[in-house]
């Protein structure tokens, strides 16, 4: 079924068409959300929010890009919104830390292990994921979509509505910043 046909069926209220769209993209959307939120339950809630947003705004889909690209873009935007909200909560979370309660967002970042990472890489991947937190939003998004969600630079440029060269540049800067941050980490570890 083509994107246009699927979209028109969903607009007509065809539940099976919507189910088909969900089943086609649910794993990828969940993976994107998990990459940002780093908590399996919260990521599933966010993935549900993404599909609800897709359902509500399907009429706005103008077929400029593939349906999958449009859905992934919604997932990235929703994840970034949620991440900003979590960071705001984290800023005000110092009050609870005074009283001895570890901030929930901080806690899930510290104890998160990505389920897709191989056992032998878990420790290193956790270090890398923590250092990715320090990257500026765009660099982090590009690095994550490429490394964790296995998207090509071309796909990323379509999802983020930006040029291919811009994606390459963001990826280059992300790697440089991560190298710098990891070097500091391992040097401190050395001393």
């Amino acid at each position: 079924m083509t994107d246009e046909l699927l979209v028109s069926k969903i607009i007509e209220g065809d539940q099976d068409a919507f189910k088909q769209l969900v089943e086609m993209h649910q794993d990828k959307i969940y993976s994107i959300c998990l990459g940002y939120i780093r908590n399996e339950e919260d990521a599933e809630d966010l993935a549900q929010e993404v599909f609800m947003k897709v359902f509500r705004s399907i009429k706005k889909f103008n077929a400029e890009s593939a349906l999958s690209t449009w859905v992934y873009r919604i997932a990235v935007n929703k994840s970034l919104e949620q991440l900003r909200r979590n960071k705001t909560n984290k800023r005000f979370g110092f009050l609870s830390s005074i009283f001895g309660n570890e901030n929930a967002f901080e806690k899930q970042l510290n104890h998160f292990e990505h389920p897709g990472v191989k056992l032998e890489n878990k420790e290193r991947a956790n270090i890398l994921l923590k250092h990715m937190e320090k990257l500026p939003e765009k660099q982090r998004t590009v690095f994550q979509l490429h490394k964790v969600d296995n998207m090509s630079y071309q796909e990323i440029s379509q999802v983020l509505h930006t040029s291919l060269s811009s994606v390459e540049s963001l990826m280059f800067r992300a790697k440089k910043n991560l190298q710098k941050s990891l070097r500091q980490f391992y040097e401190n570890d050395k001393s």
């Binding site: 649910q26 969940y30 599933e44 990505h114 990472v117 964790v148």
Partner: protein
């Protein structure tokens, strides 16, 4: 003690640790949970809409009732004018009846 060369190796290995991440999958029955959540949200928004409509109707009714009870009737208006005319001796407009001498 780690040498600089060793640190560079560590960095390279850590940067490559996400290279072979396998695709993650949602838990089974994701669509069932999603459609249940959508139904709950729909009924919540319908309930919210009904409450807003009811509240708006009550506000409009209260306004209409207050307006009707405070609006002076025609008779009342007449009385008030008469009263004011008497008070300011405006009952006779005989200025036009006086003749010039």
């Amino acid at each position: 003690m780690k040498t600089d060369n060793h640190i560079e190796q560590e960095i390279a290995k850590t940067l490559g640790s996400l290279d072979d991440v396998s695709a993650v999958k949602v838990k089974p029955y994701f669509y069932t949970r999603l459609s249940a959540k959508m139904q709950v949200k729909d009924s919540q928004s319908a309930r919210l809409w009904n409450w807003s409509l009811a509240a708006m109707t009550v506000v409009i009714l209260v306004n209409v009732i207050s307006l009707l009870s405070l609006w002076p009737s025609v008779e009342d208006t007449g009385d008030a004018i008469d009263l004011m005319a008497t008070e300011y001796s405006l009952t006779q407009t005989d200025i036009y009846n006086t003749t010039l001498e």
